[in-house]
């Protein structure tokens, strides 16, 4: 019993050292260019396995273990790098999982020293939600950020991007791409272009009656007319002599009587009347 105590500490210390070494290896593998994703992921898996053996993460752990803060900080840092790695390799499901894990570290372990990368990672997560067009989730995440941090340079830029997307000021959106707060944001900003393009493509058939291919190229931010033509044929738009034609049977529709709806509604009313009796 008495002798087991220092042995316990020794065990904790060696675990921590082993984890530290692995983490350094992981960090170098991540920062290498080009990045070897399979090696990074293998190291990450080993690190996560080590974390499950950390004493502070045991279900009945005391809250004043001496190595607690080091373990928490190490685990948190690993997860931050994991998240950035997932952003680099565009593995969105893994990103979401690691982010969920990381959020627990940010919210619950308030007594440990706060992470310096917290707002960068939070901004990255917001940007990912925006690029995936998950606006509802974006807003719910946004509410969790305290208003003092909303002026933070990472968060503030992403909020602006959301505003541009919602308004439709795509030009401002594209310009903002050049002023990234961090290199990690680049992959998601490129994803944003695809999202924005899909948005515009949705708007075009409803807003235009006919559009020249040159104009469409400019609107859709393509580089060449061939790309636009290919895109248009994929979307099923009618192309003729360099013009895109959209038919909007607005007038006819507006004057048609919606027979189906009226019949359904009238039957509904008859139902209600019967019920009153």
């Amino acid at each position: 019993h008495f002798f087991a105590f220092p042995f316990f500490f020794f065990q904790m210390a060696t675990l921590l050292n082993e984890a530290n070494e692995k983490f350094q290896a992981f960090k170098t593998a991540y920062s290498a260019t080009p990045c070897d994703f399979s090696r990074c992921n293998a190291l990450l898996a080993e690190l996560k396995e080590l974390f499950t053996r950390f004493p502070s993460f045991a279900p009945d752990a005391a809250t004043n273990l001496p190595t607690r803060s080091k373990e928490v900080v190490l685990a948190r840092q690993t997860l931050e790098y994991a998240v950035m790695l997932n952003a680099k390799e565009l593995n969105l499901t893994a990103f979401e999982q690691n982010m969920a894990h990381l959020k627990i570290f940010y919210q619950d372990y308030g007594d440990v020293m706060p992470s310096e990368r917290r707002w960068l990672i939070t901004g990255l997560n917001l940007l990912r939600l925006l690029a995936q067009d998950r606006i509802v989730d974006f807003h719910m995440e946004l509410e969790l950020i305290p208003s003092s941090e909303q002026k933070n340079m990472y968060i503030r830029d992403v909020i602006q991007l959301e505003r541009f997307l919602m308004e439709g000021s795509n030009h401002k959106l594209l310009q903002a791409r050049s002023k990234v707060p961090s290199n990690d944001y680049v992959t998601f900003l490129n994803m944003m272009i695809d999202t924005v393009r899909a948005e515009i493509a949705d708007c075009i058939p409803k807003a235009y009656e006919k559009l020249s291919v040159a104009g469409a190229t400019k609107l859709l931010m393509f580089e060449s007319q061939e790309q636009t033509q290919k895109w248009a044929s994929e979307q099923g738009w009618a192309v003729r002599d360099g013009w895109l034609l959209f038919d909007r049977p607005r007038e006819a529709e507006a004057r048609a009587i919606p027979y189906q709806d009226i019949i359904t509604a009238t039957l509904g009313f008859a139902n209600e009347m019967e019920r009153i009796v």
């Binding site: 807003h139 946004l142 795509n170 708007c203 807003a207 509604a265």
Partner: protein
């Protein structure tokens, strides 16, 4: 009288302190345990009260994900209609706030209106808060609430920033909107509505665009850019296209000439619009009627009153019998 006022103030402070204690994150565990117990005991009123406190706690800490999960899990267990009107009002308000953050504006508006109806007249503070939220939702839906909503004497002062906001939206002026945001930013922060007010930015542009399309049959995109005080002319085209797709305005863009041609249908009665408006109203009335029917319930049995009624009834029956007997005897005697 001063003594009474002092006692009342103390009681108020005590209640406030208790309520605020329930806002602590540590109170959540206890509240969840109580909710479990109340559900097992089928105690509907307790369930409502605890649920409202839990939702209030989550919303206070901006944990809308958790609040939404809680609502979806407990929806079926709540009795329809609620046992207490006050709890119902609070529940609708909390639910409305969750839906507001989730961008479900029509639903949120409905919920806030119901909360206002169910709240008692004396609850001025509650009504002020709900009116603020309902004003914001209406602005986000694109409708400007009538001036009378803001000018009620009870909350005229509190709603002043929101009145300014509504003016900015109504006239579609971005500069006024930004000014209001700057001047009253602290008030919005205190009301925890700042993020929502920022969302109204796009509504300012939409209303401005709508006014332009109503007024002009044909207008160049460059002019739209000037009128809406946008920074880039390219953006004007994107914004207009998005507005058309969203159904805010009815128009066509001519890209080559850079003009917007409005296709307003002059005669609304020739379209299906009136029919649909009628249907919506009839639906609303039948829904209200059905809800009123469902809400009717027998008065809860009052034991004392029942026994008293029974005793009275028995006494009356005895008297009648005695009277009958007396009448019979009289008849006998006569005979």
């Amino acid at each position: 009288a001063a003594e009474k006022a002092r006692i009342r103030a103390e009681a108020n402070e005590r209640v406030l302190k208790e309520c605020n204690a329930l806002l602590e994150p540590t109170a959540r565990v206890r509240l969840l345990q109580l909710l479990r117990k109340a559900t097992l005991c089928h105690d509907d009123l307790a369930k409502e009260i605890i649920l409202n406190h839990l939702l209030r706690n989550y919303i206070h800490h901006n944990m809308y994900q958790e609040a939404d999960l809680l609502v979806s899990n407990t929806k079926e267990t709540l009795s329809q209609p609620f046992r207490s009107n006050n709890q119902m009002a609070r529940y609708f308000y909390n639910l409305g706030r969750i839906r507001l953050v989730q961008l479900a504006y029509a639903e949120a508006n409905d919920l806030f209106q119901q909360a206002l109806r169910k709240a008692p007249d004396k609850a001025v503070g509650f009504k002020t808060v709900v009116t603020k939220m309902s004003v914001l939702v209406q602005l986000l839906l694109g409708e400007v609430p009538p001036r009378s909503t803001f000018r009620q004497p009870q909350w005229r002062h509190a709603l002043l920033p929101y009145l300014q906001l509504a003016s900015a939206v109504r006239f579609g002026e971005l500069t006024l909107f930004n000014k209001v945001l700057q001047d009253y930013g602290d008030v919005f922060q205190q009301d925890s509505t700042y993020t929502i007010v920022q969302r109204i930015h796009q509504n300012v542009i939409k209303t401005g665009l709508r006014r332009i399309v109503h007024a002009y049959a044909k207008i160049s995109l460059a002019d739209i850019c000037l009128k809406l005080e946008l920074d880039y002319p390219e953006d004007a085209e994107y914004i207009v296209a998005k507005a058309i797709r969203d159904g805010v305005i009815d128009a066509t863009i001519d890209h080559e000439n850079g003009v917007l041609i409005s296709t307003e249908i002059a005669d609304v009665y020739s379209t299906a619009e009136p029919v649909q408006a009628f249907m919506r109203r009839i639906q609303h009335l039948t829904d209200t009627h059905n809800q009123a029917l469902i809400a009717m319930r027998y008065m809860p049995t009052d034991e004392e009153q029942e026994t008293k009624d029974m005793l009275e009834r028995e006494k009356r029956l005895e008297e009648e019998k005695a009277l009958e007997k007396a009448l019979e005897e009289e008849d006998d005697m006569d005979l």
